[in-house]
Structures are given as structure tokens and as C-alpha cells.
Subunit: 309 residues, 2 copies
Amino acid sequence: MSILVVGSVAFDTIATPSGQVKDILGGAATYFALAASYFTEVRVVAVVGEDFTPEHEAVLKNRGVDTRGIERTQGKTFRWGGQYLDNLNDAKTDFTELNVFEKFQPRIPKEYSDTQILFLANIHPTLQAAVRLEMDGVRLTGGDTMNFWIKGTPRELAETLKLVNVLLINDTETKMLAGEKNLPRAARKVLAMGPSALVVKHGEYGATIFFREGAFGIGSHPFRAPALPIEEVKDPTGAGDSFAGGFMGYLASQGEGDISREVLKRALFYGGVMGSFAVERFGTERLQNLTRGEIDARFQVFRELTHLE
Amino acid sequence: MSILVVGSVAFDTIATPSGQVKDILGGAATYFALAASYFTEVRVVAVVGEDFTPEHEAVLKNRGVDTRGIERTQGKTFRWGGQYLDNLNDAKTDFTELNVFEKFQPRIPKEYSDTQILFLANIHPTLQAAVRLEMDGVRLTGGDTMNFWIKGTPRELAETLKLVNVLLINDTETKMLAGEKNLPRAARKVLAMGPSALVVKHGEYGATIFFREGAFGIGSHPFRAPALPIEEVKDPTGAGDSFAGGFMGYLASQGEGDISREVLKRALFYGGVMGSFAVERFGTERLQNLTRGEIDARFQVFRELTHLE
């Protein structure tokens, strides 16, 4: 099934213990689209400035991503700068220049109206909700959010959560959203806000999917996918968005039938796999030239990592 | 095979969000022995004071633990007080009264000399080494240590690590011991110090076992066991020692043949299982009255938690 991601395209300036880069292509929608492109047909709605060149667009097009929903407008593309010098798990933001992203009003091209799976990357919850309501034919909606919206726009976010089937956030965000420090209890509170499933990303420890009682008709006990211990984390930027792209992309690739528990479990593994590739190089480099064979080989490594005979 | 644990018996005063208790039976050797007692014959070498009553000893004896190596001496038993009010993963120590533990000189009863598996719980590395050298017939030695010895007695610890086959420590300790923030790289450095295998305990995220190249003849790629997300963590005290007891106890139960990769993998799961039981009640309460059926049922839950068809 086709998948549409709505979110940011950005130019990132990043410093990690492995080096530094300036103004490289990034943004949640970019990482998500590249990761998902190995599984299914991907469409993007985003906004960029005059500094977004055909070469930048080619990064997505070379992976078969439909870029007709990327709106060009006057001004500069969203820029973010950050460093991971002390801690590879949390970025310290140096600067955020919203630029054209500040007035982003997602416009869905007519050609995208038959989209079956929607992913609302981390943007203002009111924009997320508007997109979801406009795309009334979608079968499954995934979503992301962040501390900034959890603290700043809780009522708007609560409305959006009613429209999201699968929410993908990290441990800290889950606990903050629920106002509860115990993870399974926090997960239960978040599921009560709307989503049928909650994927909590644990960084180097993998991810856990929690289900609302009765959701998908598959039982409510959680499932956990481990992550591979990685010796060379060059750049953690985009790992979470790549996880989401692998997770949602694999779901989309499984056709129009009911979503089984086994498919959701495998999707969680594929999320971890795509996240693990993303961090091996700066920016989107590693996600640009993978093969499905490499992806499935790593899937097997992840599977073996916790598999008992 | 029989297993001997050398370590602390203590009285703990603990505050957690679930309540508080004063002077309850604890200590690394106690948690380890109780957890291991569900798998094999367990012996203890420790020191206690005059305040250690027959009722305290009965907690161990009721589980069939051989307490002949628990030395009674003048004075009070080791006391520790701590709280987990802000963070269930890290205790804030309120007080440490070493008491009789300050002059602990482990004495191995003659009857223990045929012990086949040894676990050196967290005590001074020089004492750990002395015990290991005295027990020259053991087939496998496990060990623990902590930040205090890593910082304070690095040379003594380095000597002890040459005598330990399997080291069980947590993420922070691994990184501190190696002087390296990346976990797999840190693990490699620790393995170069002596141990054939390193078990890194991740708390609520489970544990990973790393192998030295060629160790046990089973290949060097790591294995990870997840932990069950637990809604009710009453008291995290002793979780790591209970993990070690489950891990070493299961290994001991598997007989005298070579240790296979599959046995080590299952041991890692059993470690997580025993740790997860320990935290459900204050102190050792939950570990006193489990059944092997309950343990194996939870083993299956842990297995299902990451199992793909």
C-alpha cells in the first residue's frame, strides 16, 4: 500500500565524536521517506526554500519517492544545528531556524488522495490533525510528537491523538505525555488517549509496542524488539524517523488484509533495522544506497540476537 | 553442580514510592543464594553479627541453602539504607554501616571444597581473588564489582578479573571499567582484561552477553535477553544479585558438559526472570516462595516478548 509522510525537510549542521557536517539534507520526512522506500511506494508532503536544489530532490527521487508534495516557497529551508559530543542518545541543539517551515501549511496534492497509510511526522499537532481529517480515506495513521508539543500544546495534541492509530515516541516522551514514570503504566495512559498501539523507542535498547485492549484483535500483551549493539555510531540524527519509516513501510508492504500480531512484531524489528543503518553514516548517506538483501540480513541478525531454540 | 556465593548478608532500610521498610534481610549473597536455589544446590560464605537470628537464617535454610559458611562474629551485621524515590533505576544511599563486614575475611568450610561453580559477589577485589585462588577446583567463576572498586582499587580489580570467567555488571560499570562510552567497544575492552564472557545488565531493558573471541568455542556475537515491562516495581534492591543468581544457578543446573551457546542464552533469560520477581515485593519476600512452575511460566513470557515465528 502507498504511504504518505507529512513533516520536515531540513538542512542539518551536526557535530559528533566522529566528525562534523554542515547543511546536509535531513528532516524527519526525509529520513522517514528514505527508510520506508525500501518497502513500499512513498509520497512526501513538506515545504522547502529556494536553497533546495535538484540534487537534494534527487536523493529522494533516486529511491523512487514521489516528491510532488514538496512545496517550494520563497526563503530558506528549515535549518537545525546540534551536537552529540557528550551523549550519543541526546542531541544538544545549537540553533533552530524554522525559515519556510514556520508557516508550513501542508497541502495534499490531488494525486495523493488515494493514499492508504499516513504518517504524521513531528509537526504542530493542529497541522497533524488537519492533514488526517483531510485524508479521510486512509486505513492506518501513524504519528510522532515531541516534548515541545507535549508541554506547549497539550489540548491540541490530545485532539490529534484521537486520530492516530499508532503513536511512535521515545521513553521520555511517553512518560512526559502520561505524567507517569513507570513505563507500562505510562503506556496504558497514552493508549487511553486514543492510539490503538504505542511504539516506545528505547534508542540502543530497541523498542516496545504496547496495545490497547482489543486493538487489532490480537491480544494486549506487549512485544519488544531488541537493537543491535553498534560499535560505530557516527551520527544518531534521524534514527527515530528511520525507525518509523521502517516500521510503517513494512506494515504498508503487507497488503490490505487485517494487521496481524506477527506483522506488527516484524515491523518493530524492521524499524530497529532501519534505525541501526541510519546511524552508521552522517545524515542520510547510509539510507540512500542500501539493498533489500542488506536489510533482510540485518533483520536476521536482530532476530538471532534474542532468539532461543 | 553445586554453587558457592561469597558476599554480603545485610539488613536494609529502604524507601521507594511503594513504601518503606527497616532492617530487612538483604545483601548480595542473600539475593543471589535465594534466586539460585530454584536451580541447584547453593552454599554461602558471608559474615553476620549477633543480630542475625535463627529466623533470618531460616529464610535461606527453607530454600535448602547450605549456611554453614555464614560466620557469626561479635558486633552488628552490615547495614545499608537507601531510597529510590526519584528514580527506580538508581538508589540514593542514605547510610552504609559496614559493621562486621568491615573485617570480613572469607573462610571456606572444608565441606565446600568440592564446589564446582563459584560466584564472587561485590566485595573487595583482593578478597575475591583470594577466594578464587583457594578454590582451585572450581570449573567456572562468576563475579560482580562496582564503581567503588573500579575507581578505588583498579590494580587489585585487574588482578581479580584475570580469575573471573563471567563478569556480571551494569552499563555504567562497564563503561567506567573500560573508560569508553560506546557499549560494544567497552565490552571488548573489558573482555581483554580477562573474562571469557561479560553480562551487561540494562535494568528494565534486559541484559546483553558479550563473548571473547573463541570463548567457550561458541562464536563471539553477542546475545540479548529482554526484560518484561513491569507495572509494579515495589523495590529494586537486589535485582542485579537475583539476576546473577538466576543466571549462574541455571548454568550450574546444566551439568558438567561444555557450556553451549544455547545454555548461556537461556541462563541470560533466567537471570532476567529472577530479577523481575525480586522487584515485585520488598526485600527477598518474593524470592522466598516461588515455584519452579512460576519461574518457567515467566521464562515463556520473556521468550514470547521478542519471539518471531
